[in-house]
Structures are given as structure tokens and as C-alpha cells.
Assembly symmetry: C2
Homo-oligomer: 475 residues x 2
């Protein structure tokens, strides 16, 4: 039969193969996988799992700073919720975390115009003792301006950093402004300053000071560091601009306590034929203490758990294992993700693709990546599956987030549905980080974008190549 | 010549008089006055006097609660600025003001889900003593729901009022919501409650509690009263809705101190032929303490001083005397305006027209009034002079504000360029009442609207009739 009908059969085969190429070229995903991706996307847009999770986390647990009772309660909450949602291999992975206690902060301008300004200690700041610190103030714009001062200019003074963060959609304004918070205390201390006060790393005109970790170096004394809100920073600038000497006083009862045990919480949707390969979904369970950690990072926790739940509920099973890791202590030096990396050293290469959600509650506005450039067509096809969400196509220099940085440095590819950060720094690290800041529809859209990309990442018919570029990821 | 040209002259006179009627009918204002009104309006739209005043007041003085050092500093500031601007008859009029000290407030949910929620004592609240008050919570929507509870339902309990204020442009949502704050403490105390916590009288989703005065009756014990922000009230509602018993604890160190002396500050632009008649421009100099009183009522102070300054700088002089009165202590029972009324009892009828600015920094969106209905055509003509500002025409039931209520009850007509209150209750009575909330362009537009109306009110060729209606003004 073969011989007899040879010309006919050749024609038939050519026709079939042309049709297949037209429909699925390149054949990175089966039709069924693409159909399941659509199903996930559509279901996510009407699913309330993620919002219910962030509501529950913020209502029942609230603030979850490393080492606090809320930190422990968050771990218990995550184990309970992962089990309730039907995840497999739900477990903790211990991490040692710093334990810093905020205490109370007080900042007063004594002259020329006495004013009290709400303030927060920067995370890790030493306290002042009960007497506080009173000194003349010196205003500088940023670290460069501080370095340009004449010798002795800030000796025994309180340095005020006045520069304002720029609002951007991709968060790039944060990267430019945040060195003042991280490095400002030691930079000023090295020049003899008694303490520093910074304009919050914030885009908001509301009167919320923003906290966030500082990083003392060993080369300078540890001096206290507070943040004041943008409106108060504006008012303090006006006091300096009056031309009269500015005298200020600050007080903080913050202090370090012995480190504590906390834990990363892990749960999986097991893979099938490629179960040994892990697609990791990262978010962090800890939060700063002034708010209840709804945007940072309750929303990320909710997005990732919501994604895994939607995939769990599909008829199909994923090829690769989808592993949700809710990291401990992102805020205070990422000791949670470091513990994860240490425990998984031998298996780092099994982490074939990473996603991280640590930039608020959405919506997703762009798809970025960090993959071997040869595999950009695969990302392009995933991008097409996201078309109904009308995203922009980003570059191939995605960073993921702080918790996947270690795995990223080891060459793990990253897919990054980028959350819109335009308003994120209005709220981040403030008392105002509450559920009221989470837009349920934006959160659903974010789950839709992540779920589509995670699913296709887990189903990709080829192998995810390691990323070998030496170029550091974008910050 | 008269006789010879009689028909011609009659014709000429008829022509002139028809033209005059067409141009100025009804002849309530001269052409020069209408031209000066246009000049004022146009100058105001590019004038920065008002913004500079509210900037100076909030930067150099800051919070000005009755009886505080800021209250005294505000009086000194106002005298200095009125003199600097060239006002005449600048003086103070003493007022005795209550002196309540806020202290610190603390509100904790102990169970089912432990959470700490930022709170502020309501103005005038008694403190709790150091031990605080711990009790079961009872949630009610409003005063009606409280009254409908079975006997004993709130005995020794802490009552939580959960109702949310409605956002409106004219502030009518405030009138509906505020009785819980004013009357809630005594209503709950009369039923045996140990304390109350209210959802802030606020339209904001930001985590700022709002303070504001309560009014104890003598019929019930004085119990402590705190306010929490909308996001926290939402979270507390969710705790109640969990179905588990809610246990709460509150603490406040607020207390009453002996009354203090403060002062209304008065300055004038003297009138000419009708100098004995006063057009009064009211705003209040005091503020709540958590913020710096930029919107409430620094903006009103700035608008009224800016209006008077613009009129002062005209080539023309006003016919009636324009008197700016910056009242002491509006927030804590209007003892400043009561002192003004007492001191001016014999001269109340000389106050022929009133304006008040105590609703934020604008823009003005409507012109309302409270005049003898026969004089509505005069208001209509003033409204036409405001046409370039594209205002709506309001009704004739304007209230003015709290400080002119006494003069209003005595029949003084009110012209009310209505400030847009859509976002006012996001900020009012919070720590967030800062200069950053003042939009300079909206403030200029408000000065333009007030200046036009004040000037024409001072120039009106007729007599402002007393308002005799028994109908109470709109609240």
C-alpha cells in the first residue's frame, strides 16, 4: 500500500506538516498546553483566591517583621493555607533571622521654628538612649553632596538627606534613591556625624514616614538613623532655607535582640515527566512592622499561592514541578532565601525557571525575562499567550526580585511579569501598607498574567538553558 | 437752546438711558466696580500671596490647638502678617479657650486576632489612666443601632461604631456621619459602656485616624473615646464578622487643663461712604494638633487675607469696611466667635454681609447665598461677574461656617463661594493636614472667587437686607 500510493501519501504528509507548522511554530507548547493557558488566564480574571488570602493574612496575622510573634504566626498561617489549598510536600525550611525591635522614634525641630515631625527608625538603627541626641542640623542632598562637604562639616552634627525619590513605573526611581537609606548612616558616621535623618524613600505626599533596612559598615560607628515623610522633609527644607541655624533633636528606643529562628514555607504542585525540574515561585512572608504587609509582600504571597491553586485545579498536571517558596526575612538581609540556597546547593541546577512577586498588587503591565537569548522566541510565544492582557514586551535583563537573586546568579532563567510600581512607593514600608491599598481587580489580573506564564514555563517542550551572561541583572 | 432743540435732546437722553439700562441693569454696581471686580479676579489667578501665607503659617507655627503654644504663636503670626500686608486697625480680641491635652492613645485588638491599630483620642476625651480599659467589644453601625440594642447589651463593654462616612462635594456626608463622634460617647455611656471607639469621620482609605471634638452631656459619665482609620475599621469589622468574641484594650493619657486666654485677630480695609457697614470675612486660626492645619483652616486664613490684600492694592477703595476676623478656637466649641459676638452685640446689625472660608483649599465650585429673596437678583449679578470661573449657582440656604453661625442667626446675609469638599475629609483633622495637600492653583482660584464676591458685596449700591426667615440654615 505504501508503494502503490506513494505520491499521494507524500502529498498528504506535506499538507499535515505545513498545517502543524502554521498552527504551532515553533512547537514549544502543545495545543493542549496553550488551551490550558487560556483557561488559566480566564479563570484567574474571575478568581478571588488571591484576594481572600491577602485579606486573611493581613486580618489574622498582620505585621510580620523578622523575629516577631507575627513572623511565627505567618509561618503557621502559610502552612495551614497551603495544606487547605491542596498543595503537596508542604513543609518549612528553617532560617535564622535578625531580631530588631523598632521601639519609639521622636524627631523635633527645636529652631528656628519648633515642630514635631512623625518619624520611623530605619531598620537596624541603634537607639539613642533616653536622653536623645540634640545637635545642629546640616542639610545635604545625597551621598555625593555629603562627600563633597569640607572636612569637619558634619562633625557632631545631625545630617539631613533631602533628596526626593522619582516616581517610575518600573521602580527604577527606588534604585537611585535608596543608597541614602542603606549607606547614609555609615557614610555620615565616617565623617563624624552624630545621627542622620533622611527624607523617606517615598513618592507620596501623605505624611507617612517609610522605614527600610540600613546597612552599617564596620568602618564607622553605628549612629541612629530616622526617616521623616515627604511633607515634613519639605517643611524641614524650608526651615533650612530660612537661612537661620537649624537645631534638631531625635530619640529612638530601637535595639537589637538575639537572632531568632523563623522559616521559609514551601509547597508544591508536583510535576509529571519532568518532575525533577523545578519552576520556583518566590514571594516573602515577612513584612515591615508599621503596616500589615498587604502590598509588601502579602500581595506577592497571594499571587503565587493563587497561581499554584489555579494550576492545581486544572484537569492537566504540569510537566515540571511548581514550587511555591514563601521566604522568611526578605526585608532584613534575605537570610530566608540564603538559607534556601544553602539547603539546595546541590540542587540549584534543578531550579530551571524562576518567578518572583515582590512589587505590590499589580496590575502586571509588562513581560520581561532573563533567559538565554536563543530562547527568546519561547518567551515571545508566552507573551503571545498573554495578549488579551495587553502587556508591553520588556527586555531580557529582568532581575526577578531580591529572594531569587542567588539562584539567578547561578544561572537560573527568570520570567518576570512586571507589576506596575507607579504607586507602590507611596505605601511600601509605611503604616499605610494595608488591605485598602489592594485593588482586587488588579490582583486578579496579576494572577492571570503569572498563571499563564508559570504554566507555559512548566510545559515548555525544550530545556530551559542556563543564563551564562556576565552582565549583572538590572536593579 | 434747550427749547429750540427739545425733541433732539429728548431723543439723546432716551438713547443714553437705554444704553445705561442695557449695560448695568439692574444698577446694583457701577461700571467701575464691575471693572475692578474683573481686575481682582484676574490678579488673584496669578497671585501667590495666599499660598505664601499658608506656607508661612504651617512652616513657622505649625499645629495651633486651643490653649497650646502654637495657638499663641498663631496670634503673633497673624498680627505680624496683617500689619505687613498693610491692613488697618489690626488688633486682637481676647477669647477664653478650653485647654485639652491629647497625650498618647493606644488601641489593641487582643482577640480573636491580636492587632495594634493607630488611634487618636477624640477632642475632649477623658483619659483612661495608665492601666487602660480592657473589655469585650460590641459593634454597632450608628447611634440608631446603639439605641436599638437590648437593655444591658453594652454594659461595661467597649462600643465600636462602624458606619462609614459618604464622600460628597458639598460636605453633606459629614453632617450625616458626625453625630457619632459628637454624641456617641455620652449615648454609649448612658447605656453603661466603658469606652467607645469610632471609625473615623473620614472618606480616606489611608491609615490616618481623624480626631475632632466630642460633646459630653451632663446626664452620663464621661467615658474615653478614640477614633481609628478606615482601613483599621474595616479590619475590625472583619474581626467581628469572624463570629469569634472580640476583646479590645484602649489607653489614653488625654486630659483637661485649666482654660487659657487666646485671641481673635482682626484687621480691616476701611470703607469710604459706607464705612460704618462691615463685610466680615471669617476663618479660624486654631487647628487640630496632629497635623499642621494647612487645609483646616490655614487655607481659609490665607484665602481671606489674600482677598483683603488684593482689595487693599486696588486703586479704588471699598465703600463698606472689609473686616477680616481670624477666629480663635473654632474646633473646640467656637468660643472665639462667641467672644466676638458678645463684644459686638450692640454692633451686630452693622455686620451687613458675611463670608467664611473653612472648608479647605478649593477650588470654589459653586456660589450659594443666604439673602433676603428680594435681593437674589443682586447675587445673580455677582454670579455673572464670576462667570469666567465657571461656577455652579447654588441655592439660598447657605450656612457660611461655624464661626458666622451666631451673626447668621441674627439675620446677617451670607454669600458663600463654596469650596469643593470632595477630598476634604480625606485629610481634615489628621496628621496628614499639611501644606502638601494645598494645590496652589486651586487656592488662587478660590481667592479669585472670594475676592470678586467680597468686592461686589462691599460695593453694592443698595442696602443688604437682614434675613428674616425662620428656616434654619442648611448644615
Amino acid at each position: 500500500m505504501l508503494k502503490q500510493n506513494y505520491p499521494l501519501l507524500v502529498g498528504l504528509l506535506l499538507t499535515l506538516s505545513t498545517a502543524a507548522i502554521a498552527a504551532e511554530k515553533p512547537q514549544n507548547f502543545t495545543r493542549a498546553d496553550l488551551a490550558a493557558a487560556s483557561t488559566l488566564r480566564e479563570r484567574a480574571l474571575v478568581d478571588s483566591t488571591a484576594f481572600a488570602l491577602v485579606e486573611s493574612l493581613t486580618t489574622e496575622v498582620g505585621p510580620r517583621p523578622a523575629g516577631s510573634p507575627g513572623d511565627k504566626a505567618g509561618v503557621v498561617w502559610a502552612l495551614r493555607e497551603m495544606r487547605r489549598l491542596g498543595f503537596a510536600n508542604v513543609r518549612t525550611l528553617e532560617a535564622v533571622v535578625p531580631h530588631w525591635e523598632r521601639g519609639e522614634a521622636d524627631f523635633q525641630v527645636l529652631s528656628p521654628f519648633p515642630q514635631s515631625m512623625p518619624s520611623l527608625a530605619l531598620g537596624g538603627s541603634v537607639g539613642t538612649g533616653n536622653a536623645g541626641i540634640e545637635a545642629d542640623g546640616v542639610m545635604v542632598k545625597d551621598l555625593e553632596a555629603l562627600a563633597a562637604l569640607p572636612p569637619g562639616a558634619v562633625k557632631d552634627k545631625i545630617v539631613f538627606f533631602s533628596n526626593r525619590m522619582e516616581r517610575t513605573r518600573d521602580g527604577s526611581g527606588y534604585g537611585k534613591a535608596v543608597p541614602v537609606r542603606a549607606a547614609g548612616p555609615s557614610a555620615a558616621a565616617a565623617l563624624g556625624a552624630a545621627a542622620i535623618v533622611i527624607r523617606s524613600i517615598s513618592t507620596s505626599d501623605s505624611r507617612f514616614p517609610h522605614t527600610g533596612a540600613l546597612r552599617y559598615t564596620n568602618a564607622a560607628p553605628r549612629i541612629p538613623a530616622l526617616a521623616i515623610s515627604n511633607p515634613d522633609a519639605d517643611a524641614l527644607v524650608r526651615q533650612f532655607e530660612s537661612g537661620k541655624p537649624v537645631r534638631v533633636k531625635l530619640k529612638s528606643s530601637s535595639r537589637d535582640l538575639p537572632p531568632m529562628r523563623s522559616a521559609n514555607v514551601i509547597g508544591e504542585i508536583p510535576g509529571t515527566d519532568l518532575a525533577n525540574e523545578i519552576v520556583i515561585l518566590g514571594a516573602h512572608l515577612d513584612s515591615w512592622d508599621p503596616g500589615v504587609g498587604a502590598l509588601d509582600d502579602g500581595a506577592g504571597v497571594a499571587i503565587m499561592m493563587g497561581v499554584a491553586k489555579l494550576i492545581h485545579d486544572l484537569d492537566a498536571r504540569p510537566r515540571r514541578t511548581i514550587r511555591v517558596v514563601l521566604f522568611a526575612n526578605e526585608e532584613f538581609g534575605t537570610s530566608g532565601s540564603q538559607a534556601y540556597l544553602a539547603a539546595n546547593e546541590a540542587e540549584a541546577a534543578r531550579h530551571v525557571l524562576g518567578f518572583e512577586a515582590d512589587f505590590g498588587a499589580g496590575p502586571v503591565w509588562r513581560l520581561s525575562s532573563r533567559v538565554d537569548p536563543k530562547q527568546l522566541p519561547v518567551v515571545e510565544q508566552i507573551f503571545r499567550a498573554l495578549a488579551p492582557l495587553k502587556l508591553a514586551r520588556g527586555d531580557n535583563e529582568a532581575r526577578g526580585g531580591a529572594d531569587l537573586e542567588g539562584l539567578g546568579k547561578l544561572g537560573m532563567p527568570i520570567l518576570s511579569p512586571d507589576l506596575d510600581g507607579t504607586n507602590y512607593f507611596d505605601v511600601h514600608h509605611t503604616a499605610n501598607d494595608t488591605l485598602a491599598q489592594v485593588d482586587p481587580q488588579a490582583l486578579r489580573q496579576s494572577v492571570a498574567a503569572f498563571a499563564t506564564a508559570v504554566w507555559l514555563g512548566a510545559q515548555y517542550s525544550g530545556s530551559w538553558e542556563r543564563v551564562t551572561t556576565d552582565k549583572p541583572p538590572r536593579r
